[in-house]
Subunit: 435 residues, 2 copies
C-alpha cells in the first residue's frame, strides 16, 4: 500500500475536522485513491491540547516551519488563521517543492499572485479549494468544469454569517442587531463580526473567483464592499412585498470595458434558485456563454465541510505528484502567460436597477420633486409607490424601483433628494439583480 | 502553438453545439489550455448538410470508424444517438488508444462497465461528463470534488422534459396531457416521449451516478422506474396545500444492507432548494458525511450546455494525454480493484414517508376502515384529512401523510384499501423525501 504523510499546521476547528474525516473515512478514501493517508507531524498553538487530540504517535513541532522541513512530511496542510505564519509556511513548502493545501482565503486574496508565481517556478503545488465557499467544489467547477465557457458573471452568497442574519431578519422580523446577537449566540458570528458583516470576507473570496473566472490577477483591494449593517427589517419586508428577497451578494461581471467586482445587499427575485438559499449556507451562481446558468450550493464554513474541500485538494495533489506542470490545472484556470490586464471598473461605472426608499413628510409636491430629480439624472422609474406608514414614525415612505441605471447618476440623484426639505431621513438605496 | 485535432462523429444538435462553442471561444479556450483545438475530420448521417455546416476544410468520412482511424485525429468526440454505432466507435477508439469523449448516457449506462475495463487495459480515456445532467459538472464534482466523503445519498432532477411538465402543471393548473403537449410544441419533449415521461432516461443517469458515488458497477437494469403519466393536477395541488412540491426525483441511498436506486414522482418540502428548480432545468443534491448537503444546478440538455460538458472533458483529456494512468481519475471514482459488491436493494426494501389519496363514497366508517388497514400493516399516520370535493366527481378524497414506512407494508395496505367497497378509485401513493 502506498502511503502519503501529511504535516498538519493548525489543529483548530478545521484542523480537527481534517483529522477526524481522514480517520473516519480512511477506508473509503483509500478505495478511491489507492493511498493510505496519515498525519505524521503537526503543530498547534497549544501543543498539549493538540497532543490530547491527535494521540501519541504524531510528531509535534513547536515551529510550523519544522513541520514543513520534517522529512517524514510529503504534503503540507496549512490551516492557521492570519497571513503572517501562513505565508511563511507556504513559502517554505514551495521552496522545498512540497505540495501545500491551504484553506486560507485572506492569504490567497492578498498574496496569491506572488505565491502562485513562486510555486510555478519551483514546480510545487498550492491548492486552495477550501478558501472559497467551504465544502462547495467551486474552484474545481470554475477551473475545470466550465472550461468551454466565456464566463459572463458570477454572483455568490459567499458568507454564511450574513446569510444567516438576513434569513433570520426575514423569517422572524428581527432587527439587524437582534439577528446578529442570535448569530453570535449560536456560534455563526464571531464576537467581533466586522469582517463578515461589512462584506470584507465575501470580497476576498470574490476577488479569487473573479481571477479564476476571467483569467485576471487577484485584486482584492479593488472590490467594492458594502455590508448589511444599515439594512432594516422594513426594507426587507418592502422588498418581499414586491417579490424580492435581500441577499448579500458578491458579484463579478464581464463588461465591454472591464470587470465589475462588488459586494452589497442585493434584491433578487424570490423565485430564483439563489433566493431560496437560507441560513448559513453558501451558493455560487455562474453564468457562462455556453452552459448558461449553473449554481453550486452547500455549507460555506464549518469543520467538516471545509475539511471536505481540503481533502479533495489533497487527493488531487496526491494524484498529480510528479506529473509535469503542463498536465496540471493552471492556478488561475488560464495559462499564466495569458492572463488579461483588462481593468476592474470603478463602482461609478456599475449599472444596476435599484430599490429606493425615501421617507418624506406627507406634503403635496414631494413625489413630483423626487420624480423630477430622477428624471434630471436620467434615472428611469419602473414603479413608484407610497407605502403605508406603520404609525411609529413621522412621515411616509416612498418606494421606487428604477430601471437599469449608472451608479454615478443614481448617486447624484440621491444626494439631491436627500437635500430636499420634505425628506426626513437619508434615502435608502438597494441594488437589484435578476438572473 | 500546440494543436489538438478532433474527429467529430455526429453533427446533430450537440455536434453543432460543440463545433459552434469551439469556434466562438477558440481564443478563450486557448488562453485556458495553451492548445489550439481544431476539428479535422467528421461524419454525419447527412454528409451534404454536414459539409454546409462545417465548411470546406474538414475531411468528411462516410464510415464513423474511418474518423476514428484518421491519422489526423488525436481525440474522438462521439455524439451519435443509440448504442450500436456509438459502441463500435468507442471500442475502435480504445483499440487505437485514442481518447474519446462521449455524451451518450444510454451507452454508458448499458455498456460502461465493459468499456471502462477495455479502456483501462489499452490506456485510453473514455470521458462522459455530458452523459449526466448536461452542462452541470456533476461527474467531476462526484469523482473529484467530494473525494473526502462517504456519500450517503444523491437525489436529482435529471430529466428536463418531465421537470418542465411538472412545473407547467403546477404553475398553470394543466393536466399531464396538456402540459406534455405544450412541452412537445416547445421542443422540450419528443414526439414519442416514453423514454422521458416513464423515468427511463433519469434511471440511466441515476445508475451512472450511483456507480460513481458508491464505487459499485453500473446497474441500470436494477433501477426502479415510475414515471409521471399517472400524476394529476389535483394531487399536485393537494401536495402544495400541505407545503410540498412534486418533482420526478432520481434517488440513490446508502443503507445498511445495500443501495437504493429509484426514480419516481416525489413530494419535497416547498422551501428546500431543489423544490425551487423549475422549467427544463436539472439539479443534483448530494449528501456526503463530511460536506453535508451540496447541490448542483444547471441546464441538463440543449446544444450548448451539453457542448460545455463535452469540451470540459476534452480539455481534461488534452491535459492528461500521456500522463500515467495512476495520475488519472479512476472511472468509477474508486480504484477498479476496489469496487464494492454490496447489492442494490429491491424496491420492497425501500422506506419512505408517503402521501396517499383515497377517493371514497362519503359514508360513515370509511375513515376508520382505512385507518384500521394502515394500522394492521404497521403504517403510522402523521396526518389524515378529508379534502373538499370540487363537485365534478363522485365521492370525497381522503388525504393521508404517513410516517416512514417499508414499501412492502404500504403496498399491502393499498391493495386492501383498494378492495374496500366504499373506495371508488385506485388509491394514489406518492413518496416523500425531506432533505
Amino acid at each position: 500500500m502506498n502511503k502519503v504523510r501529511l504535516g498538519l499546521i493548525g489543529v483548530g476547528t478545521v484542523g480537527r475536522g481534517v483529522f477526524d474525516v481522514l480517520n473516519r473515512n480512511r477506508e473509503e478514501i483509500c478505495r478511491r485513491t489507492g493511498y493510505e493517508i496519515v498525519v505524521s507531524a503537526a503543530t498547534a498553538r497549544d501543543l498539549k491540547k493538540a497532543r490530547g487530540f491527535l494521540g501519541p504517535t504524531i510528531k509535534l513541532h513547536e515551529d510550523p516551519l519544522d513541520v514543513v522541513r520534517d522529512e517524514n512530511v510529503d504534503i503540507v496542510i496549512e490551516l492557521v488563521g492570519g497571513v503572517t505564519t501562513a505565508r511563511s509556511v507556504i513559502e517554505a513548502s514551495i521552496a522545498l517543492a512540497k505540495p501545500v493545501v491551504t484553506a486560507n482565503k485572506a492569504l490567497i486574496a492578498e498574496h496569491g499572485n506572488e505565491l502562485f508565481a513562486l510555486a510555478k517556478i519551483s514546480g510545487s503545488i498550492v491548492a486552495f479549494e477550501a478558501a472559497v465557499a467551504g465544502g462547495i467544489p467551486i474552484i474545481k467547477s470554475l477551473r475545470e468544469g466550465l472550461t468551454a465557457n466565456r464566463i459572463q458573471s458570477v454572483a455568490g452568497i459567499l458568507n454564511g454569517t450574513t446569510n444567516f442574519i438576513l434569513s433570520e431578519m426575514r423569517a422572524r422580523g428581527l432587527s439587524f442587531q437582534d439577528a446578529l446577537s442570535d448569530a453570535q449566540r449560536l456560534g455563526y458570528a464571531e464576537s467581533d463580526p466586522t469582517f463578515d458583516i461589512e462584506g470584507i470576507d465575501a470580497g476576498q473570496k470574490l476577488a479569487i473567483i473573479a481571477a479564476l473566472s476571467f483569467g485576471i490577477p487577484i485584486q482584492a483591494e479593488r472590490v467594492y464592499c458594502e455590508g448589511i449593517t444599515q439594512l432594516t427589517e422594513g426594507d426587507i419586508r418592502a422588498a418581499e412585498d414586491f417579490g424580492y428577497r435581500v441577499k448579500l451578494l458578491a458579484i463579478t461581471k464581464r463588461r465591454a470595458n472591464g470587470f465589475e467586482m462588488r459586494v452589497h445587499p442585493t434584491l433578487v427575485p424570490h423565485d430564483c434558485v439563489i433566493a431560496s438559499v437560507d441560513g448559513a449556507m453558501n451558493a455560487v451562481l455562474v453564468r457562462g456563454d455556453a452552459v448558461g446558468e449553473t449554481l453550486y450550493y452547500g455549507a460555506g464554513a464549518g469543520a467538516e465541510p471545509t475539511a471536505s474541500a481540503v481533502i479533495a485538494d489533497l487527493v488531487d495533489v496526491i494524484r498529480l505528484q510528479g506529473v509535469a506542470a503542463c498536465a496540471q490545472v493552471p492556478y488561475f484556470a488560464f495559462q499564466t502567460d495569458r492572463l488579461s490586464d483588462v481593468p476592474i471598473l470603478d463602482m461609478g461605472e456599475v449599472e444596476c436597477s435599484c430599490y429606493l426608499r425615501v421617507r418624506v413628510r406627507d406634503e403635496s409636491g414631494v413625489l413630483a420633486n423626487i420624480a423630477g430629480i430622477l428624471a434630471e439624472q436620467g434615472v428611469s422609474i419602473e414603479v413608484m409607490r407610497q407605502r403605508e406608514s406603520n404609525g411609529s414614525h413621522a412621515g411616509v415612505d416612498i418606494v421606487i424601483f428604477t430601471h437599469k441605471t449608472n451608479e454615478r447618476s443614481i448617486n447624484h440623484a440621491l444626494k439631491k433628494i436627500d437635500a430636499l426639505d420634505s425628506v426626513v431621513e437619508k434615502p435608502v438605496r438597494l441594488r437589484i439583480e435578476t438572473f
